[in-house]
């Protein structure tokens, strides 16, 4: 039996001649199988490793991570939601459905749910449309367009915390926006962007949009490449204006990408945390009025002193079900759209 040697491998494309399709590769493959110590031909043509554990060894870290920090936490969340476990340890006991009944009677939970759903409802349509418009704007090869594309992408790179700090100073009562408006005599008193609970929520949505624009612009640019240029030219010949061409050629052409962006941003909206934390202070707005579901989970489930991991898990299950529902809805819509 030929053992593994330490002979260096001939690198691809250099001297290794590519066998022509047909009988040659199969002969080589057979020769290779006879020589190599690794996979041997199994039944039904599947190659099995002679040492069965070898593939498992290679994939072990990924398997462990997915199992221990992916699937297990979810199952554990389901289990925990029926207990009164504390975030810092100690004995936990089984409490049945009481976490769920408490949740359904909890006005703060419904407020957080409303905030999260409202977030999705407002952010999704804007995030589907605005980056598409931006992509159309930067699609044409013009001098300096590379600079603009990169510049539009920079907000994506900054962390939400940094961006939040920057927006905080922009939106403060003596901030750039309020003072500019006051100088222009458009407003008398400062707009309370950072103290009114509705304005905080809308400002946070603005921040999410601003930060996501560049990301989805690149996303759409790839999709726009697949829209046939001839269609635009033909429509222009027929006298269709830019707006009509956008709605009747561009939009149908990138429909699938729009569906995907809608799904991704919908799921993303349900995960919003940092924007609210930075603009609405660590309490999540005045009296916690702007808390989203992740924010609420952290507050009720992970607070070292008053937290109840059991109750937090019940809210987590609700968040998961919402996400799942949204994903299934998007899938259904996509399917209907295709047929």
């Amino acid at each position: 039996m030929v053992a593994d040697t330490t002979k260096p491998v001939s690198l691809p494309g250099t001297e290794a001649a590519r066998p022509a399709p047909g009988s040659a590769p199969s002969r080589i493959r057979r020769a290779g199988r006879a020589l190599r110590p690794g996979p041997a031909p199994g039944a039904n043509g599947a190659a099995l490793y002679r040492r069965w554990w070898q593939p498992w060894l290679w994939a072990a870290p990924a398997i462990v991570c997915a199992a221990v920090f992916g699937v297990f936490p979810f199952l554990n969340t389901l289990l925990l939601s029926f207990t009164d476990a504390k975030p810092l340890g100690g004995a936990a006991s089984f409490v049945g459905w009481s976490n769920y009944t408490r949740m359904l009677d909890d006005p703060d939970f419904w407020l957080a749910t409303r905030n999260s759903l409202l977030y999705a409802l407002i952010v999704v349509p804007l995030m589907v449309l605005l980056p598409l418009l931006l992509a159309v704007l930067v699609e044409k090869q013009l001098p300096g367009i590379g600079f603009f594309r990169s510049a539009f992408y920079t907000p994506v790179l900054a962390s939400s915390v940094v961006v939040g700090l920057s927006w905080q100073w922009l939106l403060a009562d003596e901030g750039l926006i309020n003072t500019s408006l006051e100088k222009a005599h458009l407003i008398e008193d400062a707009i309370p962007f950072l103290s009114d609970s509705w304005l905080i929520l809308f400002s946070a949505m603005g921040l999410t949009l601003w930060k996501g624009l560049g990301w989805y612009m690149i996303f759409y640019l790839a999709a726009l490449g697949n829209v046939p240029k001839e269609l635009h030219e033909a429509a222009a010949m027929d006298g269709a204006g830019a707006v009509r061409r956008f709605w009747h050629i561009t939009v149908p052409g990138v429909r699938q990408a729009m569906m995907l962006v809608g799904t991704l941003t919908g799921i993303g909206s349900l995960r919003v945390f940092t924007e609210i934390y930075m603009l609405g202070s660590p309490t999540g707005g005045p009296g916690g009025a702007d808390r989203t579901l992740p924010f609420y989970i952290r507050d009720v489930g992970l607070d070292p002193l008053t937290g109840n991991a059991g109750y937090g898990s019940a809210v987590s299950v609700a968040l998961f079900l919402l996400t799942l529902g949204l994903t299934l809805l998007a899938q259904r819509l996509t399917k209907e759209d295709e047929s």
Partner: protein, 297 residues
């Protein structure tokens, strides 16, 4: 002889060079650039304003009635101050620690697992596939309570290892690497095997070099995710000495009094710079990472 000049060096014939009027009607062109500049102001404006404010001295207002956009007398005072007032050096060190750990483990383990998943059937491959796909189904926010309890049971609360551990290899990156490895032609591997190359050698000398585009995507995405992450470090870390940069900066909010805005801005700029540098070095691959993100669904 005049032909001594290689063809490509010859200046482009004038008529082949694009002229402004080739780009469209002048009115449309002006409108396009105006729109571009407008969006530029919206997207980069706040960040640029932040940078300019960080260069102002104490005598200049950052905002209010008398504030100007450009600093009259640019100074690096705020950058010196931020290191003195806040333990920014410690924050940066902590962030780098998590970033280096994450990038190393993601790179190592997503390539090995992706490699094996790209190989023809071995028993259990399907099961691994299902497990990885399942692990991507759950949003982090819906499992973070349970994750925190696990980290607590491992005794890793308030440690940087605890910040790194739950994401030491991402299923999305494994699938990305698998896709890249599938593109390597079988024939090349066969000839490498005839040359007597073992599994590890084929992986190391054949597969890794041909997938470097995907590898860069993994590195970039991991770097940014770890450097910018906020919620998980906020949950795990407690003491000032262990805080990452985003966490430390978040405490400089306007609600906590006593901080000089110029200093806060300087801290923000420090946090953006590494990512910007990485971006401009690897720009081409960056955009690919975005389309690779579409695999996520």
């Amino acid at each position: 002889m005049t032909t001594a000049v290689p063809k490509s060096r010859r200046p482009m014939p004038r008529r082949l060079m694009p002229r402004w009027r080739d780009y469209g009607r002048p009115r449309e062109l002006v409108l396009r650039y105006l729109l571009l500049l407008f969006v530029l102001g919206i997207t980069v404006g706040p960040l640029l304003w932040q940078f300019l404010a960080s260069l102002k001295g104490t005598g200049e207002d950052v905002f209010g009635e008398n504030a100007s956009l450009l600093p009259h007398d640019p100074t690096l005072r705020a950058y010196r101050e931020v290191f003195e007032q806040v333990p920014v050096a410690t924050y940066i060190w902590n962030s780098l620690f998590v970033v280096v750990l994450s990038v190393t483990s993601q790179l190592l383990f997503s390539t090995t697992a992706g490699y094996m998943l790209s190989k023809p059937a071995w028993k259990g491959r399907r099961a691994v596939w299902v497990l990885l796909a399942a692990s991507m189904m759950f949003p982090f926010e819906s499992i973070m309570v349970s994750l925190f309890l696990s980290i607590r049971d491992l005794g890793l609360v308030d440690s940087l290892v605890g910040v790194w551990l739950p994401g030491f290899v991402g299923a999305i990156n494994v699938l990305l690497m698998r896709g890249a490895f599938l593109a390597v032609p079988r024939e090349i591997e066969d000839s490498a095997m005839i040359d007597g190359a073992g599994e590890w050698q084929r992986f190391r000398h054949l597969y890794l070099p041909s997938a470097w585009g995907a590898i860069l995507v993994v590195v970039i995405n991991t770097f940014i995710a770890a450097w910018d992450d906020f919620l998980w470090p906020l949950i795990v870390l407690r003491s000032e000495a262990n805080m990452t940069l985003t966490l430390g900066l978040s405490r400089l909010q306007s609600s906590s009094f006593g901080y000089d805005q110029r200093v806060v801005m300087a801290g923000s700029v420090i946090s953006i710079v590494p990512v910007l540098v990485l971006f401009f070095i690897t720009q081409r691959w960056f955009y690919k990472g975005v389309s690779a993100g579409a695999v996520k669904l």
